[in-house]
C-alpha cells in the first residue's frame, strides 16, 4: 500500500513534538474526518525556519506527510517554505496511494497555517500566503456505482 519512504517516515517520524513559545503554530484538518495536523515553527529574525515540530492524529500517510513536511521546511526561508507544495511532499515520499493524496494537501496547509499564525503574531503580511481553510477535502471524489 505505502512506499518504503512513507513507511520509514511513519515508523520513525522526524521532528515529532512541541516547540515551547513557537513563532507560529498551525492546526488543520478535523477529528471528524480523522486527520488533524499541528505544525510548530521556530523562525529566526532573518525569516529562516530554525526548528519545526509536528503532532498528528491520523493515518499512516498523515503521519508520514507531516514528518516529511517538517524535513522539507527545516532551515528554509519563509518564502522557500511556501514553495513546499503537497506535490513536493508526495514526491519526496515516492508517492502516495490516490485515496491518501489529501494527507499531503493537509501537510501543505499545516505549514501555511503555522506561517499565517506567525504573520498574525508579528503583524506582517507574507506575499502569496492566504488565510488557510479550516478543512481540507480532496474535491475529486471517486465515482460511485
Amino acid at each position: 500500500m505505502y512506499s518504503e519512504k512513507v513507511m520509514d517516515h511513519f515508523q520513525n517520524p522526524r521532528n515529532v513534538g512541541e516547540i515551547e513559545n513557537a513563532s507560529g503554530v498551525g492546526t488543520v484538518g478535523n477529528a471528524k474526518c480523522g486527520d488533524i495536523m499541528r505544525m510548530y515553527l521556530d523562525i529566526d529574525d532573518n525569516g529562516v525556519i530554525r526548528d519545526c515540530k509536528f503532532k498528528t492524529f491520523g493515518c499512516g500517510a498523515a503521519v508520514a506527510t507531516s514528518s516529511m513536511a517538517t524535513e522539507l521546511v527545516m532551515g528554509k526561508t519563509i518564502q522557500q517554505a511556501l514553495e513546499v507544495t503537497n506535490k513536493a511532499v508526495m514526491e519526496a515520499l515516492d508517492g502516495l496511494p490516490p485515496v491518501k493524496v489529501h494527507c499531503s494537501l493537509l501537510a501543505e496547509e499545516a505549514i501555511h497555517a503555522a506561517l499565517w499564525d506567525y504573520a498574525q503574531k508579528h503583524g506582517i503580511k507574507i506575499e502569496g500566503l492566504e488565510k488557510p481553510k479550516n478543512d481540507i477535502s480532496e474535491g475529486e471524489e471517486e465515482e460511485d456505482y
Binding site: G34, F57, V63
Partner: protein, 394 residues
C-alpha cells in the same frame, strides 16, 4: 518480532481449515464433472452437492431443499432483498432494517429506495441492540420485509432475533436475517426463531471464499436473482461451484461438531482480552454488548488516536486486526455502526476490532496486549488531541 503472524481479523475472513481444503481437492482435477450431467463423472459431483447441502442445512435446523448456494453473503443479501421487493411489490413498498447492517444490506436498501421502495432504518441503543418497540411502531400495512442482522460484524452484538421473528410472524411479514457473522458461531434455529430467509458466507467459518447460501423457507416464493440454467432447483443459475460447495459443507460440519467447545474457549479468551485492555490502557471504551456478543469479537475505541496508524503498527508486530469493517476500510470513513451506537466521530476513528479464531491462544492475546500498550502510548505521544486533553487536565 518473529515471523509468526497473529491473525485477529477472523470477522473479515478466515483461514481455510486443512480438512476443508482436503475435501475440496478431488473436485478440481478428478470429480470435476458437471453435477447436472448424465454421466457418472458428474454423479460424484451431484452426490457431493447433496451431502454439502445437508451439512449446511444442519447448522440452522433447515431442510436441505431450503438451502440455495450462492457466491457469498453479499449475493445472498442482494437476492433476499431485491427478490422480496419484486415479489411483494403489489402488497406494499415498505422495508424495515437497522442502521447497523452490513453494506450489502444498506446499499441494497438504498438501491431499492431509488426504485420507489421506502425503508425504515431502526436505531440501536448504545450496545447496538435494535429497539423492539421501535420495530413494532415502524410496521405499516405496506411493510413487506423485516431484515435485521443476526450479529453485527463490527461490534459483535447479537440481536434479539427470536423476538424479532415472533413480531414478524405475528404481523405476517417476511423476516430475513443476515447471519453471515453468526452462522456456525452461535446456535441458530430457523424454525424456533421464525426466520424466513437467512444469508451465510463460507469464508467466515474457515470455509472457502466465493461461496455462500441463502436459506429460503419452503413456501416463500421469491424468484431468481441470477437467471439462466436450471441449477439450484431453477432458482440460482450458474454451473455449481462444486469445490466451493464441498468446502463450505465440510466447514459447516466441523463448525457444528466443535461449536460448543469453540464458544467456550473463545468467550474466555475474549473476556480476558477485554479485561486486560481495560485494566492496562486508559481512556478506552469497549463497544457492543458485554452479554449478547459473538464469542470471538472484541471492539474497543482508544481515544485520541486514529485506527489505521494503529493497524500498521500492529502489523509491524505481526498482529492483524481491523478498524471498522474490512469492507469499508478502503474509504476509512468512520464506521456507520460506531456512529449509530452514539460515538462521536473522533472516537469512532480510534476503533480496533480484534476477532479470534479456534486457533488463537492465550499467548497470542498476551503478546497482543503487551504490544498494544506500547503502540497506544506512542501514538498518543504524537497526537495533538492528546496534547490538548492533557493540557486541559492540568
Amino acid at each position: 518480532m518473529g515471523n509468526k503472524v497473529i491473525y485477529l481479523d477472523n470477522a473479515a475472513t478466515t483461514k481455510v481449515r486443512p480438512e476443508v481444503v482436503e475435501a475440496m481437492l478431488p473436485f478440481f482435477t478428478e470429480n470435476y464433472g458437471n453435477a447436472s450431467a448424465v454421466y457418472s463423472v458428474g454423479a460424484k459431483a451431484k452426490e457431493a452437492l447433496t451431502t454439502a447441502r445437508e451439512q449446511v442445512a444442519k447448522v440452522i435446523g433447515a431442510k436441505t431443499e431450503e438451502i440455495y448456494f450462492t457466491a457469498g453473503g453479499s449475493e445472498s443479501d442482494n437476492w433476499a432483498l431485491k427478490a422480496t421487493a419484486e415479489l411483494m411489490k403489489e402488497k406494499g413498498n415498505h422495508i424495515i432494517t437497522s442502521k447497523i447492517e452490513h453494506h450489502a444490506i444498506l446499499h441494497t436498501c438504498e438501491y431499492l429506495e431509488k426504485q420507489g421502495f421506502e425503508v425504515t432504518y431502526l436505531d440501536v441503543d448504545e450496545e447496538g441492540v435494535v429497539d423492539l418497540e421501535q420495530l413494532k411502531a415502524a410496521i405499516r400495512p405496506t411493510t413487506i420485509l423485516i431484515s435485521i442482522m443476526f450479529a453485527n460484524n463490527e461490534i459483535g452484538t447479537i440481536e434479539p432475533i427470536k423476538e424479532i421473528g415472533a413480531i414478524a410472524r405475528e404481523h405476517g411479514i417476511l423476516f430475513h436475517t443476515d447471519a453471515v457473522q453468526a452462522f456456525g458461531q452461535v446456535p441458530i434455529n430457523v424454525d424456533e426463531m421464525n426466520i424466513d430467509m437467512l444469508s451465510a458466507s463460507g469464508h467466515k467459518l474457515n470455509g472457502p471464499k466465493g461461496i455462500g447460501m441463502l436459506y429460503i423457507r419452503k413456501g416463500v416464493k421469491i424468484r431468481s436473482f441470477v437467471h439462466g440454467g436450471a441449477q439450484e432447483r431453477k432458482r440460482r443459475a450458474g454451473t455449481e461451484n462444486i469445490p466451493g460447495i464441498v468446502g463450505f459443507g465440510k466447514a459447516c460440519e466441523i463448525a457444528v461438531n466443535t461449536m460448543k467447545e469453540r464458544m467456550q474457549k473463545e468467550t474466555e479468551l475474549r473476556d480476558y482480552l477485554m479485561a486486560r485492555i481495560e485494566k492496562e490502557i486508559p481512556y478506552v471504551k469497549i463497544n457492543g454488548s458485554r452479554v449478547n456478543r459473538l464469542p470471538n469479537n472484541v471492539n474497543v475505541c482508544f481515544r485520541f488516536i486514529e485506527g489505521e496508524s494503529m493497524l500498521i503498527m500492529l502489523d509491524q508486530k505481526g498482529i492483524c486486526g481491523s478498524s471498522g469493517s474490512a469492507c469499508t476500510s478502503g474509504s476509512l470513513d468512520p464506521s456507520h455502526v460506531l456512529l449509530a451506537i452514539g460515538l462521536p466521530h473522533e472516537i469512532a476513528h480510534g476503533s480496533l476490532r480484534l476477532t479470534l479464531s479456534h486457533e488463537t491462544t492465550r499467548e497470542d492475546i498476551n503478546y497482543t496486549v503487551d504490544e498494544l500498550v506500547k503502540i497506544i502510548e506512542r501514538l498518543r505521544q504524537m497526537s495533538p488531541l492528546y496534547e490538548d486533553f492533557i493540557k486541559k487536565q492540568k
